[in-house]
Amino acid sequence: MNFTYTILIPIIPFIIFLFIGLMNSKIKPSLAASLGTGGMLISFILSYYTAFLYFFKSVKVDGAYQKIIAFNAEWLHFTDKLHIDMGVLLDPISVMMLIVVSTISLMVHIYSIGYMKGDDGFNRFYSFLSLFSFSMFGLVVATNIFQMYVFWELVGVSSFLLIGYYYQKPSAVAASKKAFIVTRFADMFFLIGILVLSFVTDTFDFITLTDTTGSAITQGGSILFMGMSTMTWALILIFIGGAGKSAMFPVHIWLPDAMEGPTPVSALIHAATMVVAGVYLVARLFPIFEISAPDALMVVAYVGAFSSLFAAIIATTQFDIKRVLAYSTMSQIGYMITALGVSGYGGHEGVGYMASMFHLFTHAMFKALLFLGAGAVIHAVHTNLMTEMGGLRKYLPITHITFLLACLTIAGVPPFSGFFSKDEILVAAYHHDKVIYFIQMFVAGLTAFYMFRLYFRIFWNTEPHYHHTPHEAPFSMTFPLMFLAFAAVFSGFIPFEKLVTSDGLPLDLHTEWEVAIPAISVGLIGIIIAFVFYKKESSIPDKISQNLRFFYRWAFNKFYIDELYMFVTHKIIFNGVSRPIAWFDRHVVDGTMTGIGKATEFTAKSIKGFQSGQVQKYGFVFVSSAILLAIAFIFYWFY
């Protein structure tokens, strides 16, 4: 089957980016919007067509889905074995990601027509969206790890541009800088990891790297460096890169600030697509993690579990609705990462892998929905703070219903999609590591609690005095909400275990009720507590935060991780390294050079007096030198 046309999926947004970017102010906003959306619609259709062909029509070998190279061309030649290719690799996870990216991206394109209407930089916004879509498509279809790195950097810069979209607002500028530098810092480890990995395996190519019977996977296990094999080191370094993009502890600090960007951007980049790149990266390299570096996989599992707990605790204390959602994203991504960490390769062992991809899919739908819903709320009341909201269900009926559906989904209430995907993750954890299982179970309860805290605070509770009566968003904004609500509710019925598995073979799964029932109950308890606390004005939450003042303050201030970073970057790096280097350069290095010049000048000055041009002086020097010489000779000869 010929899939060469898939190259168009990334190319179309790229051309649109160039066109809108170059024409910028010369074309009408309506043209920019329709071009961007139209182009994305083509990519969307092509993606679904590809998925249909791939999953239902392509040739399977022994019942397993194959990896198909649809297109590949050498782009940069390093050595005969190491070269960056640009290509399209189709396998279950990349095809699934095509669906996720094109769906969310299309919805955000449509949504933004209404949300960004009348904004100065409307065209710029659409060109950046296209740039991002291009980069994200390029990332998911990468055939080799270096191509992934190339697009990894490109999504990073699109994210930077979009977070800093309101570039005259200092907080947005600071947030975009922070996001870029923190992820760049993580990317440095990614790059070093790629270098180490390629040094050991002599290839960048994904198919060669993840070939379970190939040579790449068995190499590097023997060379030890500080007690761990080189391969483990390489994969941990690569995972740090993934953790940076996916906002895992401790390189998560950029994500909450990234909410300074326009809300559709948060939905697209910081909830559904770019932030799951780290999950995707680990999934992409999963066989090599599982077979030749189980230690690295354990690191992955614990980083994910800790991050999901950490973020969920912070989320319960925040008041900015977008920040609550940001921490929720971090927590849910932690789930996906953990699921990979506790998974095995192949057969029933691989349920974690499948669950992770499943959750990635459902999460993309419901989290994008939550963000777009939050955008509609912010659009209506012009504030981000939940303390200034309340009772909005009357004014925003569509937003209210879709938001409620999304909350039920994320809380894991059956039969919504979140229940299925989260349940599989818990099953995987249950059979692998009980500590992680209990952490995840607790986080499930917290999730239900903070999501319904959010829901009740926005749509119920006491209604503050609004300056303008809030009104429902236009159809361009409500349509994506309804579409995504549909996806969030029903995507749980997609038979993922048949389509996306670690080895391409279908799994046979059935709900394990001994895991599902506690999970559902925990979720319901969370919802009930939130109902009691926040359905109406209540004094209980304040009392609790008073009693747990110490802990509450820590969580509210995000455990002071930002302050720690500020201390390290400003006090230590900026003042402790950079300033001394600047001083050293000016005064020591340059001082030496100037010193040589000064010394020359000084010598010249001190001896130039000898050439005064006065005959008396010359005569005096002549005679006195002669006498001195004579005395010297006399002494030398006679004594």
Binding site: L76, L82, E153, K169, F180, S578, I581, V589
Partner: protein, 499 residues
């Protein structure tokens, strides 16, 4: 006539034409026409070179011409090019072309300014086409000396001090270089027979190791001073800060590349044993200067100083790649020369244009310029992204080739240094974004900035040319790799033979 000699002749004729120019307008017209011809000529040269190679010409140098100049002193004028020099010539003609346009509105002594500028470029072109030590040194000096006048007369700030410092330090480099080159000449025929200054002839003989080890530091540091080798780089921040725009462009864009190119062509190629023995010292120096320069840039407040320190970091990477002695890293180093040349020229052009509008180069006195001068602002951001190594722009290709090439080195020492050098990519992002954030983004700081005008056509032309070059290399790096790849083989083979 040989096309290579034309490359030297055209600037000379342009200078002659400018001498007869009546006014400012004619001067700049003649310069623009001359340098456009030069640009076309180098495009033709690239084309001729590629066709010749495709026709199967396997000579190391093409279009070779040899004239005897002073028989008794054995001075020859010998020219010839390989892929690397062709690439450098193309770079030079782009920079001088754009440099002329950015100097469109030089106020005083315009004729003398353009004459000095073009003489300087003559020296650079001559340097890149010569394959004879004497010719090379001659053109090298022609390129370095007009710099004194250009900074001393048309500069700003502490211009006399900077001009003097720059010239003296580069002259010190020349002195070291002269010792090195004469030493190589004296040993160019160890088995007896006539001495020669021809690079290709010298490359065939084996100079004794102890002699090589004596001469290598002279030649490498001699060229290294011009290539901003730590700790001999301090002329660069002051020199750039004081130099007028076009001079900064040409100097950082091309002249500093003479250092890297010379170190590659003479020190590494002619003294390979010593290069292998002594490279570790210089690897440490350059590896550190990559990080050191980047840290230095983080703390600066003057736009030109930031760019000068950034150049120290990027040029450190050039020498670093050259010293790594793997073909990939060396290819990367050559691409980095070109990439950095264009990038830094773009930066200096933009800084000049911004300075011309705001009359300050201190970043904290400016802010929010993106709103008022979007063209220059966007160009600055693109330049910044290229500088921090964004894929799709030239910097990424060069850096990745150097890093991957260096990391393939079998020694742990080299790989460790590579990791140290890689940390610079984060620091680079810090200083680039810091400048962009303060200078271009945020609210407009000063009300009179609201009246600033965006770029005029003679400003847009060079900027667009430079950005297109950056993007072309970034998107289709394989063209450049193919152009220079073949020519690297003799050098790499010679260096690896010793192992």
């Amino acid at each position: 006539m040989n096309i290579l000699s034309l490359l030297v002749l055209v600037p000379v004729l342009t200078v002659a034409a400018i001498l007869f120019a009546k006014d400012n307008k004619q001067t700049r017209l003649f310069s623009a026409v001359g340098m456009s011809i030069q640009l076309i000529l180098s495009a033709i040269l690239v084309y001729m070179y590629v066709t010749e190679r495709q026709a199967g010409n396997m000579d190391q140098m093409l279009f070779v011409k040899d004239f005897v100049w002073f028989e008794s002193l054995n001075f020859h004028y010998t020219v010839g090019v390989d892929g690397i020099s062709v690439a450098m010539i193309a770079l030079t003609s782009v920079i001088i072309f754009t440099g002329v346009f950015t100097s469109w509105e030089v106020l005083n002594l315009h004729r003398e300014f353009f004459i000095s500028l073009i003489i300087l470029s003559t020296g650079v072109f001559g340097f890149f086409i010569s394959i004879d030590l004497f010719t090379m040194f001659l053109f090298y000096e022609i390129a370095v000396i007009p710099m004194y006048l250009l900074i001393g007369i048309w500069g700003s700030g502490k211009k006399e001090y900077s001009a003097m410092k720059l010239t003296l330090m580069l002259m010190a480099g020349s002195a070291l270089l002269m010792v090195g080159l004469l030493g190589i000449y004296m040993h160019s025929a160890p088995d007896g027979g006539p001495l020669t200054m021809n690079l290709l002839e010298i490359a065939k003989v084996k100079i004794p190791l102890d002699v090589q080890k004596f001469l290598f530091p002279f030649t490498f540091i001699g060229f290294g001073i011009l290539g901003a080798l730590f700790p001999f780089h301090t002329w660069s921040p002051d020199g750039h800060a004081s130099a007028p725009t076009a001079v900064s462009m040409l100097h950082a864009g091309v002249l500093m590349k003479l250092g890297g190119y010379g170190a590659f062509r003479v020190a590494m190629y002619l003294l390979p044993d010593a290069a292998n023995e002594l490279s570790w010292i210089f690897l440490i120096l350059t590896g550190l200067s990559v990080v050191y320069g980047a840290f230095g840039a983080v703390f600066q407040k003057d736009l030109k100083y930031i760019n000068a320190y950034s150049s120290v970091s990027h040029c450190g990477l050039i020498l670093f790649g050259i010293l790594m002695v793997t073909k990939t890293a060396m290819t990367g180093a050559i691409i980095q020369m070109i990439s950095h040349g264009i990038m830094t020229a773009l930066f200096f052009a933009l800084i000049g244009m911004i300075y011309g509008r705001t009359h300050t180069r201190m970043i904290n006195e400016m802010g929010g310029l993106m709103k008022v001068i979007p063209f220059l602002g966007v160009a600055y951001v693109i330049g910044g992204l290229a500088s921090l190594g964004l894929p799709g722009l030239s910097g990424f290709v060069a850096e990745m080739m150097i890093f991957v090439g260096s990391y393939q080195h079998p020694d742990v020492f080299h790989r460790t240094l590579t990791i140290i050098a890689i940390t610079a990519i984060v620091i680079t992002a810090v200083y680039i974004l810091r400048v962009v954030g303060i200078l271009l983004l945020g609210p407009i700081k000063n009300d009179h900035y609201l009246e600033l005008k965006d770029a005029k056509w003679w400003e847009r032309l060079p900027i667009i040319t430079l950005i297109l070059s950056i993007a072309a290399i970034g998107v289709a790096p394989f063209l450049l790799v193919d152009l220079i790849g073949f020519s690297l083989d003799p050098v790499v083979e010679k260096l690896l033979m010793i192992h």
